[in-house]
Symmetry: C2
Subunit: 343 residues, 2 copies
């Protein structure tokens, strides 16, 4: 499963420094994505030696959104390795009586100057002189290098803060939130995989160039090919959805994936779970489901769920409002999606 | 996965009657094993119509032990279908500020008189005239019929209450608790699968006859064959455990599977998770693990975890105390296990 992309590696030299700056005592839970569990164990050992009562979360963690109320119940502090904070999740955890400390990491692969230079060339060919520059969490640290090379080449980089409820640092795009973009501009996105570039393109409807530090540079035509494939699947799912037939609503228990606004509008008992799996859908015995957790899951993991008509709330809104209004779903939910769901 | 056996079916006529007697209001969470999710949906719809604010748990539920603190956080009442209560779990849920309502179910398959008669014949052949009679949750309702037929045949049935912290009704055996047995007696156990009969035999060290309503009657030699196979695997795992090599401790977040006594004795940071999976063990990158959740998992699911030396706490105690002291692990943890772990 690839949910919110998380750092696959960590600069180990950073660990002692980072832990030293951690001001925690009492009961501490340390959590990290699977690839960073070894680091979590090291951090736990250091905190234990300092007198904390430490537990380690062995569960999967796909993002800063992915902390459940149960994680918080028997803990004073959560040390969460590998993701940038989500401010509204921090707030919810505070309300539940604990404090969370996010320790973002960056991938071992970094943007190399030639990648930014190649992106510049693509932009020059397109006659673009002003561009959003954004990245997923593990490449946010590379935005500075990219901006510098753009500037030297006469292209103005725009790095905007996003919606303060979700986006902790300027230029960060999440699978569920693209608010850091100026939608009147083309975009350079630094990330791996094809979901985020597609998301940026759907959100802005402008050319997108991807710098993938693990692979190289993809120009806007490459990105458009990907979007076409994704949209073909989504539109077929939306058309397949039968309004006469019943459907189930499934929520996530992750604090940053709850969407009470959507659930309130849909107004009927919903299923809740931690991770959406095929087993879970099978046990519900219904072909049509709307997943109100991470809006990226039905889109990016469509292949896993192909036996079901699985939509996210914005796609259910498109069923009601017409498929021309297809839009990328986000958290917080856009008002027009809520309006379409009210019909 | 087959954890604590749960009813696979439900007498649907019971639903309206059972729900009518439910005295709940406010926020209600309805949960059920996968096979009973459809019933959970019906119960939710009735409660919703009555004005409750209902959510449905789409996650897997393997027993009354298997309720997490997170389940409780945003709920006033939990309606839990398919399992007998575990009193100490009820208490913990009360402490977390909610109330749980257990609605046990029984399987569609019931004990038929010929099965009990065949069991009687086996007992007569063994010269047994007094016997424990016990069952797993979905067959507890059949204990009466079995006892009656035994009595008519001159055999005295003994149905004892178990440890009041775990066992809600006389004659009930759980995968983690066999306290309802008089260990000086042979036993008739009504259940499917081979884990419980093996557990009874290891606990009592006396002949065990199984009535499996889905299959028929297994005599004590059949049961002993199964035990030999299970023990061969367990003893090889215990011998394989290398005391010089490090190991990880993994706890469950399920309220009825937490074992703070064991964790306190082992005295080091532990991993916690909801369900033990191969993915989780793989991410810990250690070959040796002690699982402190459901003690049945390492034993009954050994095939899933064969790449790891995965022990339960009683088995770790056997590593330290000698394999001759192999005993079936239980919750609450027996004192001799804790003593061996302290060495």
């Amino acid at each position: 499963m690839t949910r919110c992309t998380s750092a696959e590696s960590y600069d180990e030299d950073e660990v002692p420094r980072v832990v030293e700056s951690l001001n925690v005592e009492g009961r501490v839970l340390v959590q990290a994505p699977d690839g960073l569990k070894r680091i979590a164990r090291e951090v736990a050992d250091v905190l234990e030696a300092r007198g904390c009562e430490v537990e380690l979360d062995a569960g999967r963690v796909f993002g800063a959104c992915d902390i459940t109320p149960g994680t918080v119940v028997r803990t004073d502090h959560i040390v969460h390795i590998g993701h940038y904070p989500i401010p509204e999740v921090e707030r919810q955890i505070r309300e539940l009586g604990a404090t969370v400390h996010f320790l973002p990491t960056h991938g071992r692969k970094r943007v190399e100057p030639w990648m930014a230079e190649e992106a510049v060339e693509v932009l020059h060919n397109l006659g673009i002189d002003r561009v959003n520059v954004c990245a997923t969490a593990q490449y946010v640290a590379d935005l500075e290098l990219v901006s510098e090379i753009l500037r030297e080449s006469g292209i103005e980089p725009v790095i905007r803060p996003g919606d303060g409820r979700r986006v902790a640092t300027p230029g960060l795009v999440l699978g569920c939130n693209f608010s850091a973009l100026d939608t009147s501009l083309p975009t350079i996105v630094v990330c791996s995989g094809s979901f985020h570039p597609a998301g940026v393109a759907i959100r802005t409807n402008r050319p997108v160039v991807q710098i993938d530090p693990t692979k190289g540079v993809l120009d806007s035509e490459d990105v458009e090919d990907v979007i076409r494939r994704i949209l073909a699947v989504r539109l077929s799912k939306i058309r397949e959805f039968n309004r006469e037939e019943g459907f189930e609503i499934v929520e996530s228990t992750a604090l940053g994936q709850r969407r009470p606004d959507v659930v309130r509008v849909l107004d009927r008992p919903t299923w809740r779970l931690r991770y959406l799996t095929e087993d879970a859908l099978r046990s519900l015995r219904r072909r049509q489901c709307v997943f109100c957790g991470c809006p990226r899951v039905p889109v990016d993991e469509a292949a896993r769920f192909k036996r079901w008509v699985l939509l996210n709330p914005a796609e259910l809104a498109a069923v009601r409002a017409g498929w021309k209004e297809y839009r990328l779903d986000e958290i917080p939910t856009p008002e027009d999606v809520l309006n379409a769901l009210r019909r």
